[in-house]
Structure formats: structure tokens, C-alpha cells
């Protein structure tokens, strides 16, 4: 939140040069796309040919295009836009982008000598863009004074943006090469940040806030359409289902951690409970229970069992301090794993087949719809993972619904009050223990629900899927994305599942980076990437500027759209 920029004196003396610096930077970037980046033509999709830009060179040219646009804007000094902010983001990410590419070239082809002039030119361009951004004056923008569009037009904008999003996601997932994938992601952040940082982002946020329902609908439509872009291929759909299940579970955990403020380090056990229940009650030849109820019943039993475990583990420990709870839940997670490992008939009753787990769980069949088969819709084949994708999407929507509605209710207020000051909350008549227990068991219930689907999608369950590290990953998704927000957790979950899948080159260092990431995040941005404003304040208590900002936001929504305060984001009828 802190805006660290140059002293004003530097800016006044050199400010006039800023647009020209930026313009030069943009042009250098454009030129670099036409130059060779690598001596070695076998790597990164061949960057060795001049005047014939391939992937990464094209991204560089996009940096150039946006850089030039922003520089021109800067020259014209519009009162309602802040190109400076955009340039800073564009330039900084540009530096990261070029350094990443040059480093990868050096690493993959065995030496910095193989990096050709293109990269270096681009690097100079990026530095110039950044300098231009830092030297130019900040414009305080107030998007509320921008022209209001008709509501139809606003909705059209939302739909178009969502379509672009869909296209981008499909494109991104198609990139096979891990380094190019990462380069594209960095470029994407820089380009989008450069454009949106000028104030368009705030404006879009403003439009979005005014049209929450169309926005949500469009978002789900896009998510729903995604499998149709994959042309029957299961490769990306498999990752997508992983992301969805992970996101749904993490969002459930976010109720516990983000809303109620309880640290649960054994959350994976609840997912496991659901999965094991589903496996035991499935028609797998290894299932240990004779009863084979329909899947809807299985879901309820799985979720209810998980919730019961939640109550059992929660009721004794929720009274003690939060740190204890963290460790007890960790212990509970271990108990779960060990129990699943042991219950093989030799040690205790045979429920889980011990370390072997329960394999060969058949695909789901709901209302005659077989999830294992390929279905063709509108000429586009949808494979097994696409089928699971749809049901998981429904699950995610359900979890989101539960999350937002609980958050925006009497119960949500109670949770915030408990986080803020537990004793005061109790003295004001808030049922502290009951609310904590509720959060704990709702979280467990949702995880159990997700687990029942996961068992069928994975076709097997085994104890080693439910180790502590998985709980840590879930927690990291919540923390990385932003505690207490839906979008944050979706972002966090996507990053944590997608990057390792795509960045196979560095897979061995995955956990190392992950651990480091947690430490660095807590040090510099404990509120996560997409923070809930309130959480941000809790972590940066001393930040007066921030609190005034949040307050202004409250006033703004109040002032402009009183009904916005009605917390019913998902309600269909007006």
C-alpha cells in the first residue's frame, strides 16, 4: 500500500523528460521484438531469427505497444488518467520479464554468451519505462467522475472482458514450455497492470461493483464454457479439475481461517474423511462396506461424517488459545492419516485397506449421466475430466454461496467481532464458542463434500494423499490469495496448483520455493494478493492512510448505491 516514489524535487527538475524516456523505452521494446534474443535456436520456441518475432518476442512487442501508448498519454497529460502508475507497473514487470527470459536462455543453452542483442535492448527499454514512470507526476484519479455509461453498455463491457479472459486462459494453458508459460504470465501481469494501473482498473472495479450479478453470471458462464475451448483434450481439463477441487477445499478452509480466524492445520483430514466415506460406500471391488447407496446419499454421509469429526475435534479445543488449536488440528490430521494407514484388518477393523488404500473406484453416474464417458455437445467432445469439471464447478459455486452468505450475515459479523476482540464480543452477547464451532463444522462439512467427489475423480484413495503438507498447501492458498476473500482464494489456489503443473523444470525446487514464499509473504504482504480490506487493516494496524482509504470506500458505496450494502450478491430476484 505504501507508495514509495521519488522525492518531489527530483520529479520537478526531471519530470519533463519522463514522457520521452518512456517513449524511448516503448520503442526499444518494439525494436527488440524484431531482433534476435538467443543464439541457440532450439530453445524457447526459436528466438534466433531477426524480423520474424516468435512467442516471447511478440510479448516484448506488446510491452512496447502499451509503453508507447502510455508515453503518448503522458505527453498529453490527461487530468483523469494516471499513466505514471501504469508505466511503473509495466516497467517493473518488464524488467522481471526480460531478466527471466535472459536468465532462462543462459541456463538452458549454457551461458550468458548465448543471449543475443534483443534481450539487452529490451532490458534497456524496460529500465527506461520504469524511470519514466517514476519521474512523471502522480495524478489523483477519481473514477466516479468518469462518464457514466448506460447499464447495457457496462454489461457489454463485462461480457467482452470475460470473453477475453476465457481466451487468455485457454491460450495460457496451451503453452507447453514451462519457461515460456512463466514468461507469458509475467508479461500478462505487466501488460494488464500497465493498462489497468492507469485508472482503468479502478473504473472496471467500479463498473463491476455496480453490476455484481451480471459479473458473477458472466464469470460462471466463462468458467462453464472453458471445457468447450479444449476440443476434447483431457490434459488441461485434468489440471482444471485439480484446481477446482483444491479451490473449493481452500475456500472451505477460508471460512475457518479467514472468517472465523481459527488456524486449522489438519484440514486435509476432512477432505480425506469425505473421500474415504465415498470410497468405502462405492461399488469398487475393494470397498469395505457392503452398502452401496446412491451418490447423493454418499455425499451427505461423507460431509456429515466430516462435520461430526469437526465437532469432535473442535468442541474440546476451541476453548483454548488459537495456537493450541493449530497444533491440535495438526495432531488430528496425523491421527487421521495414521488411522487410515492402520485400519487394514490387522490393526483394528478392516475399513481402509491400510497403506494400499481403496483403488478402482468407479466413475460417478448421476441421473443416468455417466461421468466416465465422452459426451459430445454442439459438436465438441467433452471427456471424462470435463464431466467432473462441471460437477466441481457446481460444488465451487455452492461453497462460494455458503461463504459469501455466511460472511454477510449476523454470523459473519459475529466472526469479525471475535477476531477483533474476543472478550468484548462475548461481553456483547456474541456466542463465541458456538460461532467458532459453527465455522469449524461448516468448514469440515464442505471439505467432506468435496472429498466425496474427489474420490471418484481420482478413482482411488490412499493415506499418502492426506499428509500434513497438503494441509499446508491449502492454508497457503488461503494466505497467498488473501484471507477472507473469495477471489483471493481462487487466485491463490490457481497459482499453487497451476504453476507446479506447468513448471516441471523446477519441480524439484517446488517445496523449497513454497516454504520461502510463505515466509516472504508473511513478512511483506501478510494480507495476501487479493486481500480483504478489513484483513489488510488487521495486519497493518498502524496504516492510517489505508484505513482512510477503506473508509472512503465505505462512504463511496454508501453514497452511490445504497442498495449495494444489502449483502445479497447471489440472489436471483430483485
Amino acid at each position: 500500500m505504501s507508495r514509495r516514489t521519488l522525492p518531489d524535487s527530483v520529479r520537478t527538475t526531471h519530470g519533463s523528460k519522463a514522457p520521452w524516456l518512456a517513449l524511448a523505452g516503448g520503442i526499444l521494446f518494439l525494436v527488440s521484438g524484431m531482433l534476435s534474443w538467443s543464439y541457440d535456436d532450439r530453445i524457447l520456441g526459436d528466438l534466433s531469427i531477426r524480423f520474424y518475432p516468435a512467442g516471447i518476442q511478440l510479448y516484448a512487442m506488446l510491452f512496447g505497444v502499451i509503453g508507447v501508448i502510455l508515453a503518448v498519454l503522458l505527453l498529453r497529460r490527461p487530468a483523469w488518467l494516471s499513466p505514471a502508475r501504469g508505466l511503473r507497473i509495466l516497467g517493473t514487470t518488464g524488467i522481471v520479464f526480460v531478466v527471466w527470459v535472459i536468465a532462462s536462455i543462459a541456463y538452458q543453452s549454457g551461458g550468458l554468451i548465448n543471449a543475443n542483442e534483443g534481450g539487452w535492448v529490451a532490458l534497456v527499454g524496460a529500465v527506461l519505462l520504469t524511470a519514466g514512470g517514476h519521474l512523471s507526476p502522480e495524478v489523483d484519479i477519481d473514477v466516479r467522475r468518469w462518464p457514466r455509461l448506460s447499464s447495457t453498455l457496462e454489461i457489454v463491457i463485462i461480457v467482452v472482458l470475460m470473453a477475453i479472459l476465457l481466451f487468455t486462459v485457454a491460450y495460457t494453458l496451451d503453452i507447453e514450455d514451462g519457461v515460456i508459460f512463466a514468461a507469458f504470465l509475467i508479461a500478462l501481469i505487466g501488460l494488464a497492470g500497465g493498462l489497468l494501473g492507469t485508472g482503468f482498473g479502478d473504473y472496471l472495479g467500479f463498473i463491476g461493483a455496480n453490476n455484481r450479478r451480471p459479473l458473477l453470471l458472466a464469470a460462471f458462464l466463462v468458467a462453464f464454457l472453458f471445457p468447450f475451448t479444449q476440443d476434447g483434450s483431457d490434459a488441461n481439463m485434468s489440471i482444471a479439475t485439480q484446481v477446482l477441487i483444491f479451490a473449493a477445499t481452500a475456500l472451505g478452509l477460508n471460512i475457518v481461517v479467514g472468517l472465523a480466524g481459527l488456524l486449522d492445520l489438519g484440514y486435509i483430514a476432512f477432505l480425506g474423511t469425505g473421500a474415504y466415506v465415498a470410497a468405502m460406500l462405492s461399488s469398487s471391488g475393494f470397498a469395505t462396506v457392503g452398502w452401496k447407496p446412491p451418490f447423493v446419499v454418499v455425499m451427505l454421509i461423507g460431509a456429515a461424517t466430516a462435520a461430526t469429526f469437526g465437532l469432535i475435534i473442535g468442541s474440546p479445543t476451541l476453548r483454548v488459545s488459537g495456537d493450541y488449536l493449530a497444533i491440535v488440528t495438526l495432531g488430528f490430521g496425523e491421527i487421521f492419516r495414521l488411522a487410515m494407514f492402520n485400519l487394514d484388518g490387522n490393526n483394528g477393523p478392516d475399513l481402509t485397506n491400510g497403506p494400499n488404500g481403496i483403488p478402482a473406484i468407479p466413475d460417478l453416474e448421476l441421473l443416468g449421466f455417466d461421468f466416465g464417458e465422452v459426451h459430445t455437445v454442439a459438436g465438441i467432445p467433452l471427456g471424462r475430466f470435463s464431466n467432473y469439471y462441471f460437477i466441481l464447478l457446481l460444488l465451487l459455486m455452492f461453497v462460494m454461496l455458503v461463504f459469501t452468505r455466511l460472511n454477510n450475515s449476523r454470523i459473519g459479523r459475529g466472526w469479525v467481532a471475535i477476531r477483533e476482540d474476543e472478550r468484548a464480543a462475548e461481553a456483547m452477547g456474541v456466542n463465541v464458542f458456538g460461532l467458532k464451532l459453527l465455522a469449524f463444522s461448516v468448514g469440515a462439512f464442505l471439505a467432506g463434500l468435496a472429498g466425496t467427489i474427489k474420490a471418484h475423480q481420482d478413482t482411488s484413495v490412499s493415506p499418502d494423499q492426506y499428509v500434513f503438507l497438503e494441509s499446508a498447501f491449502l492454508l497457503a492458498a488461503v494466505v497467498l490469495g488473501g484471507m477472507g476473500t473469495v477471489v483471493g482464494v481462487l487466485v491463490g489456489a490457481t497459482i499453487l496448483k497451476l504453476l507446479p503443473e506447468k513448471l516441471r523444470e523446477v519441480n524439484d525446487y517446488r517445496l523449497l520455493v513454497f516454504g520461502l514464499l510463505l515466509v516472504v509473504m508473511m513478512r511483506f504482504r501478510p494480507e495476501g494478493l487479493v486481500p480483504s480490506k478489513r484483513r489488510q487493516l488487521e495486519f497493518h494496524g498502524e496504516d492510517e492512510e489505508l484505513s482512510e482509504l477503506l473508509q472512503a470506500e465505505h462512504l463511496q458505496t454508501e453514497h452511490l448505491k445504497p442498495e449495494q450494502l444489502e449483502p445479497e450478491p447471489l440472489q436471483g430476484a430483485k
Binding site: S409, M428, G429, V432, R534
Partner: protein
């Protein structure tokens, strides 16, 4: 258990008794923090509690609010024994503020007061997720009532301010609004004017009168003597855990023991 008759100091017998503490004693280990203190509070009455620091006021206060269960004696609220959990105490009709303001700092003023409505509303998880008409009515009612209370304490226009950003005096008043949101029969104020300037103190006094006139009973702990003697119908002075005197402000103010023990009399001669 015999409940003693209404104390003779009660000059207006016949009024409804809201809170009755009988022979409350509180010990921690070997230390007796509160020693055999009785207090009766009637509807529409302001009772002040004074005494030097460490005289057991706060401990006594905590016994009244159910934070502590007295070692001996009993506390009755509306004729019923005070339930042992703070939560139930609030539901039974007792609300309090804190000596050092304990608002939910990162919530808005309105949200703070809405939290106060928690114990008078009932929407649980399923209702909140399904959002039927009943839920919406209740939510709307909560919001309206909270706004009403903000207006009542004079913060009607500050609803969207974060509690942490409000001026000190407003925070104190917000705390009172939040306490009132629990629909109490009796309101306990712990140093409501600490840190206030004279104008704010005066405003607070008017607010407390207004609350009293609406039929609530009010108990106030305060150090500001001028404030207490101008405000209260009756004053109790605690010294070293026991009740030194109970009476009208005039009586207490002129009692030489009070001056000696609390306000600081001529200690040289007294103890020589």
C-alpha cells in the same frame, strides 16, 4: 438463602429492583478483593461507584457482569440469579462498556452496533445461507435498530466510519450505543468519561440522563468526582474491598472518611 430486605437507604421504596447484589465477596487466593458488598439498583436510577484505584471496583464490577462468580454472596438480575456466562448475562438484560474502549476497531460504527444486536436476533447458518424473507426482515430490522441507536447517541452520521478512525469521545459514545443494542434493563459504564474534555464529559452526562429517563438503570464507575456527584442519584464508595459508605451525592461528598480515604485528607494528622 435469605435475601435481605430492600436497604433502608432506598428512599424511594416501591420501585422495581433491577439488580441486587447481596453480600458479594471475591477472593483470589489469600487476597480478598471484594469484601461483603451489597448493592441494589432500581429502574430509572443512576448509581455511582467510586473508590481509589485498587479498591476492588473493577473486581466488583466483574462480579456484576458475570465475568467472575463471587466466592460468596449472590447477584440477582431482575429477580433471577445471574447466569454464570457473560453471554447469558447479556441476554438476561445487562450491558456494559469497558474502561479502556474495546470497540471492534476495524468494523464501521454501524457494524459495531449491529454486533450488539447479535443476542436479540436468531438467524443461524442455514437461514443465512437460504436467505428467506424472515432472514431479510431480521437483517433489515437489525440495521434499522442500529441506525436508530446511532442517532440516539448522536452519531447518526458516522455510521460508515471505521471505529478506529472516530474521535475519542465518539468512540465512547459508540460503545454505549453498542451496549444499548443488546436491549438491556441495566447499563454498566466503566469510566465513561476517562480522557474526555469538559465539553465531551458534559455531553456524556446528558446522554446518561437520557438513557436513565428512558427507564434503564445505570451503574457508573468514575474517578471524576464532579461528574459523579452531578450525575448520580446514589453513590457507593468502596475502599480496600469493602463498602465505606452508600448515600446521596451530598452525603458521600461530605463524609470525612471518603475525603480521607479517597480524595486525600490531611494524612499527616490523621494517621499520626
Amino acid at each position: 438463602m435469605t435475601v435481605t430486605d430492600t436497604p433502608t437507604t432506598d428512599r424511594e421504596a416501591g420501585r422495581v429492583t433491577v439488580l441486587q447484589a447481596s453480600n458479594v465477596t471475591m477472593r483470589f487466593g489469600g487476597l480478598t478483593a471484594v469484601d461483603d458488598v451489597s448493592m441494589t439498583v432500581h429502574e430509572g436510577e443512576i448509581v455511582g461507584l467510586i473508590g481509589p484505584n485498587g479498591a476492588g471496583k473493577t473486581t466488583f464490577f466483574n462480579c456484576l457482569t458475570g465475568m467472575y462468580i463471587p466466592t460468596e454472596g449472590r447477584v440477582e438480575l431482575g429477580g433471577e440469579l445471574l447466569p454464570p456466562k457473560p453471554l447469558k448475562v447479556v441476554r438476561a438484560g445487562m450491558a456494559r462498556t469497558f474502561q479502556n474502549i474495546r470497540l471492534f476497531a476495524n468494523m464501521t460504527a454501524l457494524e459495531n452496533v449491529m454486533v450488539g444486536r447479535y443476542c436479540r436476533t436468531s438467524a443461524m447458518a442455514l437461514t443465512s445461507i437460504l436467505r428467506g424473507p424472515k432472514f431479510r426482515r431480521e437483517e433489515e430490522a437489525t440495521r434499522e435498530r442500529a441506525q436508530e441507536l446511532l442517532d440516539y447517541v448522536g452519531l447518526g452520521r458516522s455510521g460508515e466510519l471505521l471505529a478506529r478512525n472516530m474521535p475519542y469521545g465518539d468512540q465512547r459514545r459508540l460503545e454505549i450505543a453498542r451496549a444499548l443494542a443488546t436491549d438491556p434493563q441495566i447499563l454498566l459504564l466503566d469510566e465513561p468519561t476517562a480522557g474526555m474534555n469538559p465539553r465531551e464529559t458534559e455531553e456524556t452526562m446528558q446522554l446518561i440522563f437520557k438513557i436513565r429517563d428512558s427507564g434503564l438503570a445505570v451503574v457508573v464507575i468514575e474517578h471524576d468526582m464532579r461528574f459523579i456527584f452531578a450525575l448520580c442519584d446514589r453513590v457507593l464508595c468502596l475502599v480496600r474491598g469493602s463498602l465505606l459508605i452508600e448515600g446521596s451525592p451530598g452525603e458521600v461528598q461530605s463524609d470525612h472518611r471518603v475525603i480521607e480515604a479517597y480524595i486525600g485528607g490531611d494524612d499527616e494528622e490523621e494517621t499520626a
